[in-house]
């Protein structure tokens, strides 16, 4: 019974106005929710006790004020001044029970002043009096009254309708998850590495990409050396192109560690680094040391190098091409260059056959020889190694991306750091495939256990276990289990319930939230535009980069707030409480048309959501 509307009025008042109010409220809230004494009191009731009960149960007390309300009596005193006056008792009880009081003026009488009212009723003057006369504005005014009551008398926040919505939304989410699972989502391909690994398996059929059985193990046939940030700045002085002298030392160490058993035509080494010298001078001792180290390594096992940036971009590539052809010639074509263009389908390099990782995988699996691969690289213009080849391929400039995904490295982030690899070259040299790459990213690598702490006697023995401390993410297929469905449903249900509840609560606090959405979106767009300009400025004046970053953060926050606002409106406005007739009435009478329109569109969206989801599932299944 909680949540009734109590109508307090003077019997002498205009019946037409009182009846109109009652009728409208009954239409809006139902007969059971409106207490109207003349209709509700039974004969013989203790009316005072009954009033007290009803007011304590009501959440809103409507005080219908009119010129008779103060009530002049025959003896010249006013009825309202009598302590036993029923109207006075009703209002006093409403105040005593802390109910929401809405005063409504039902005729054209002026609002009472403080002198007109006894002290116990003066609190009424703090409330806005709603005028309600029989004129052409009556429907709007009734609508405002209904809205005011709705705000004061919200009913149950989490009604049956709310729970029904949560349930069917959760079922829909679960169905989507299920569809994703059936469509192959049972392998959690979280990143490009894993996708590349899949490509390696599908295209090449090589199982070197298989993940190790447990977290601490190495790959049987694969070693990846990633030059991390610290090594880049300390061992290479943070300079690009990489120092040829240091690089030749690394290659010489690899060659020295290679036993005759670790050489072979199917044991490739991929170096995903731009090793071309800054300025090619065949007599430069450092450049020729690097060339000799490459050539020596190529005598042991095939070497695949990343294409120099200048050749990929076709900008001033002559020097680098001279260097490339010299190295290739000296290495007796057991060495070649490749480059894979970024994959437009978003899988980055895994789809193209000339990805450096795929190329070495094919060589290692024996599917293609080095010569065939080199020829393929030549013919598909991945990396033209001579001016003639370049002339054939055309001088179309290509995008260069130096990121770690340029190399097909499965399941692993950073198994070896360069320093770890140098410390244990013999082990590295035994691997069938060696990938040396530099991400120069921000990822921390912990190749040597305890290197940040104190060295111990046992460090040497445990070193091997440390190479995979950081990497080795497992992406094994997840087999189906019945509890997964239960888990998916309950997690979806809880999430949906929380999101909807959040929207409902926010919405209840501010009906006009929708109005802020356009403002937020506009401000957000403006603030996103500013950082673009700031970034342009930062390109010229690097000292101001921080400002660009700050503006970008603010812009994103504002956009986020706008999206949240829209989200609240869509979820709460559309989904949980209003029916279409209610919304239609809002649209006719409400002054805040923008809010109502957004609510209306949200409601339409809600009705369309289920068919749309079903349609999406069918399309997904069909494809």
């Amino acid at each position: 019974m909680k949540g009734k509307i109590f109508i307090s009025y003077r019997r002498a008042a205009d019946r037409w106005a009182v009846d109109t109010v009652r009728k409208e409220l009954v239409a809006a809230f139902g007969e059971d929710n409106v207490f109207f004494d003349a209709q509700t009191l039974d004969p013989g009731d203790d009316w005072l006790k009954r009033l007290d009960t009803e007011i304590s149960r009501a959440s809103v007390v409507l005080v219908l004020y009119c010129k008779e309300w103060l009530g002049p009596s025959a003896d010249g005193t006013r009825r309202i001044d009598h302590e036993g006056d029923m109207v006075r008792r009703e209002v006093e009880l409403a105040q005593a029970h802390r109910r929401v009081v809405i005063p409504v003026v039902i005729d054209d009488s002026p609002q009472p002043s403080a002198n007109d009212l006894p002290a116990s009723l003066r609190f009424l003057l703090k409330h806005q009096f709603l005028p309600l006369q029989p004129d052409e504005q009556l429907p709007q005014r009734i609508h405002r009254l209904v809205q005011a009551i709705e705000r004061a008398h919200p009913g149950r926040l989490f009604s049956r309708r709310y729970y029904a919505q949560v349930t069917w939304l959760a079922l829909m989410v679960t169905a989507l998850v299920g569809a994703w699972y059936v469509r192959g989502g049972n392998v959690s391909y979280e990143n490009a590495f894993a996708r590349n690994a899949l490509a390696m398996r599908l295209h090449v059929g090589l199982d070197a990409a298989a993940a190790p059985a447990s977290f601490g193990e190495e790959f049987a046939e694969l070693a990846w050396v990633d030059i991390d940030d610290a090594e880049f700045s300390i061992l290479f002085a943070g300079q690009r192109p990489l120092d040829p002298q240091v690089m030749s030392l690394v290659l010489r160490a690899l060659h020295a560690a290679s036993t005759p058993g670790s050489c072979g035509a199917d044991r490739p080494v991929a170096i995903n680094l731009d090793l071309s010298p800054d300025v090619y001078n065949p007599d430069d001792p450092e450049t020729s040391a690097l060339r000799q180290a490459l050539v020596k390594l190529a005598q042991c096992r095939p070497v695949v190098l990343a294409c120099p940036t200048s050749v990929v971009r076709r900008v001033a590539a002559e020097d680098d091409m001279r260097w490339m052809s010299r190295v290739q010639q000296d290495a007796n074509h057991q060495l070649f260059f490749t480059h894979s263009r970024p994959d437009p389908s978003g899988l980055r390099h895994s789809e193209s056959g000339d990805d450096i990782g795929i190329v070495v995988a094919e060589i290692a699996s024996g599917r293609k020889t080095v010569a065939q691969q080199a020829q393929q690289a030549d013919s598909n213009c991945a990396c033209p190694a001579s001016p003639q080849a370049l002339a054939l391929c055309g001088s179309e400039r290509r995008r260069v991306s130096w990121d770690r995904t340029a190399m097909a490295v499965p399941f692993v982030k950073s198994p070896y750091s360069l320093s770890g690899a140098l410390l244990d070259m013999p082990r590295l040299a035994r691997k069938k495939i060696i990938l040396i790459g530099g991400s120069f990213g921000s990822q921390a690598v912990y190749a040597v256990p305890g290197r940040a702490g104190e060295p111990t006697e046992g460090a040497t023995d445990t070193l091997m276990q440390g190479y995979l401390l950081h990497g080795a993410m497992h992406h094994q297929p997840v087999p189906w289990r019945p509890w997964m469905a239960m888990l998916a449903i309950s997690v979806s249900w809880l999430l949906t319930a929380a999101i909807l509840a959040f929207g409902v609560v926010l919405q209840r606090n501010d009906q006009r939230f929708a109005r802020r959405v356009p403002a937020y979106l506009g401000a957000g767009l403006l603030m996103l535009g500013v950082p673009v300009l700031a970034l342009l400025a930062a390109a010229m004046w690097p000292a101001w980069t921080w400002l660009a970053a700050l503006m970008a953060v603010l812009g994103v926050l504002t956009m986020g707030r706008a999206l949240l606002a829209a989200f609240e409106v869509v979820l709460a406005g559309g989904m949980t409480f209003k029916t279409f007739p209610e919304l239609w009435r809002d649209l006719r009478f409400d002054q805040d048309k923008v809010s109502v329109l957004m609510h209306l569109s949200a409601a339409v969206f809600e009705r369309l959501l289920l068919p749309l989801a079903a349609f999406g599932l069918i399309v997904l299944w069909w494809n």
Partner: protein
Amino acid sequence: MKYLKAAWLGFGCAMLATACLAAPAAPAAPAAPTFADPMADPLQAARPIRMGVQRAALPFAFESRTQPGRYIGYSVDICLQILRTLRAQAGKPFRAQTDVVFVPVTSKTRLVQLLAGEIDMECGSTSNTRERREIGIAFSSAIFVSEVAVLMTPAAARNSDTLARWVQDARERSLGIVTTAGSTSVRHLRELGRSRGTKRLKVVLASSHDDSLSRLLRGEVDAFVMDRALLATWLAADKRLAGRGFVLSPWSLVPGSPECYGIATRIVNAGFGQKVDAALAEMRANGQLAALYASWFEQPLPPGVRLLDLPPGRGLNLPMSPQMSRVMITPSYEACP
């Protein structure tokens, strides 16, 4: 007789020719592999210790002018003394000719050479830093404390009374600054160049100390940023620098951050590193370290030892700084990074 003489002559010529031809063709003794296993303890392996030494890190490690292939210097002497102690502990005599091999290194390549096993220890002027320790290099306790200073031409020294003024001047006039690749100065210069202002410092990296110095002498650059001890030694001992008004900055490029030299080993050879440190502690305790400092930096050079152009009998005359005195007393000097 005449024929006999001619025959002898012919025989001699033939023998000489054979010897000349045969010498290069003779199978050379199998050379030791360039890279030893970095994981193996160098003391356990039956091979000489490979000591990485710089050619021109005066007076810490440098090649003797009179005997090419022989390396001398303060750090080299410390390392030799340490190896002598270690051999004595193992009950074996130490022979400098067979028990140690000098491998020339440069600032740029020394860490890679050490990690890859081309050298077992590096004795020179290598600063102990956190970044180096993090990539697997272990350092002994400090053997020397220096700071980063600037050696500049008179023209570049016009506004050099404080660090801030000099840096501003170097930016505004685009002074060329050289430093040796692989040294800590590279990082310091980068941080200094990045910190403020729009004009960047013009920094050139040279491949070795010799290269840096000759660029400065040729006038390609206006200033050479390096550790003060090295710069002071060059200034005192290199006659090419004399009389041209080169100025060594009295301030440090990185105030409050000393460069603490240590003997570099691999962190995985923990046992070797600890023994080196123990032997160094012994030298510190019995005064050998202080004596070596005095003989290289304070006293006149002994007969037969030339420090670049400084003849025997002359000396660097660089008395111990307060920080250096601390290092002589305690193995863990708290100001070291």
